[in-house]
């Protein structure tokens, strides 16, 4: 499961309206989802797995679908319908789960740990719940053997290794691997192959269950948080001692004594 998101390095808040200024923001594939795809492709490298990419989003998510095919996915399906618009994480999970169900049999579902535009981390676990399958969250390493997935989970106080029988959903940590490159050959083939666009009918959901109508979240009020004054600064290795001194003097960092 992947999502196209605004490039987090380019998100600009309009200082007057306090809205997200999307006019200059370009869309990219959510970075953790690239790691999820890579984790799936690594299993494909060692087995005869078939990798299908599933996403929900507007038609411009096409570039993400083609990119995933060009990195090595076998099939790409974009759940795209105006009824899906305005969804919170609940109908998003429902829509993706229904899409996956409609595709048929599967062993492992991979998702990024969270998306950079909303950072809830709800959708992956939500899909597992809708499908009634087990889930492994925040995995850094995923192996598959004889019907079992073994994954390392990065926790605050260490690493946990879990072994779960398939079918299972795994959410993959950001930067836990290096996504393979798209190649010209694969990208040409991806464009020729194309992706599938599924509407609510094909996914098998009623319009009132999805999108804004299917979203239990009601945004009552949005309040801008007064931004602290921030300054960007890049320093060389040689400049680190001065920077630490400056941060200390400004009270940003403190010296802790035992």
């Amino acid at each position: 499961m992947v999502k196209q998101v605004p490039d987090s390095q380019e998100v600009v808040i309009d200082p007057v309206t306090m809205n997200l200024n999307r006019s200059l923001t370009r869309n990219v594939t959510n970075r953790a989802d690239e790691n999820a795809l890579e984790a799936a492709l690594q299993i494909k490298d060692r087995t005869d797995a078939h990798v299908t990419v599933v996403s929900m989003g507007p038609p411009q998510a096409e570039t993400t679908m083609i990119e995933c095919l060009a990195r090595g996915a076998d099939r790409a399906i974009l759940a795209s319908d105006r009824f899906f618009g305005g969804a919170d994480t609940y109908p998003t999970g429902l829509t993706l789960a229904a899409t996956i169900k409609a595709i048929g049999k599967f062993d492992i579902i991979f998702a990024g740990e969270e998306t950079s535009d909303s950072s809830t981390g709800h959708v992956g676990p939500g899909v597992a719940e809708f499908l009634g399958i087990d889930q492994i969250t925040y995995a850094s390493k995923v192996e598959y053997k004889d019907g079992f997935v073994t994954a390392e989970r990065e926790l605050e106080d260490g690493t946990e290794v879990v072994k779960v029988p398939t079918p299972v959903l795994v959410t993959v940590l950001l930067n836990s691997n290096v996504p393979r490159r798209q190649t010209l050959r694969r990208k040409i083939d991806a464009i020729r192959q194309g992706f599938e666009s599924w509407d609510h009918d094909k996914v098998g959901l009623q319009p009132e269950w999805v999108g804004v109508r299917g979203s239990p979240t009601i945004v009552r009020k949005m309040r801008p948080i007064k931004e602290k004054e921030r300054a960007a600064k890049k320093v060389d290795i040689a400049g680190i001692p001065d920077l630490v001194k400056e941060l200390y003097q400004k009270g940003v960092i403190k010296v802790e004594s035992d």
Binding site: Q9, L24, R26, R181, Q182, K233, D236, I237, A238
Partner: protein, 90 residues
């Protein structure tokens, strides 16, 4: 405004696997001018304790260093797979 602050405005998609420009430290050791440190508009080349330090992560792919280095130390290629600088205006 300092160059470091200007570079901090930029959007890079850094390739963790491929350094598209590399230098030959042996050649740099004997370099009499270190013109790269003056020519590079992104301050990727700095002289630290007599040694050239090169950061490909800050590179804006302008091509200057390849011409600036008259001693054949710079191996210049384009980043791969859409990595590197991503200008918003251009």
């Amino acid at each position: 405004m300092e160059i470091e602050e200007k570079l901090a405005l930029l959007n890079y998609k850094t390739d963790p696997e491929y350094e598209h420009i590399t230098i030959n430290p042996k050649i740099c050791e004997t370099c009499p001018d270190h013109f790269c440190t003056f020519a590079c508009p992104a301050k990727c080349y700095t002289l630290i304790e007599g040694r050239i330090n090169f950061k490909y992560e800050d590179c804006v792919e302008c091509g200057t260093c390849d011409v600036a280095c008259a001693h054949g130390s710079v191996m210049w290629t384009n980043p791969k797979d859409g990595h590197g600088i991503k200008y918003k205006f251009g």
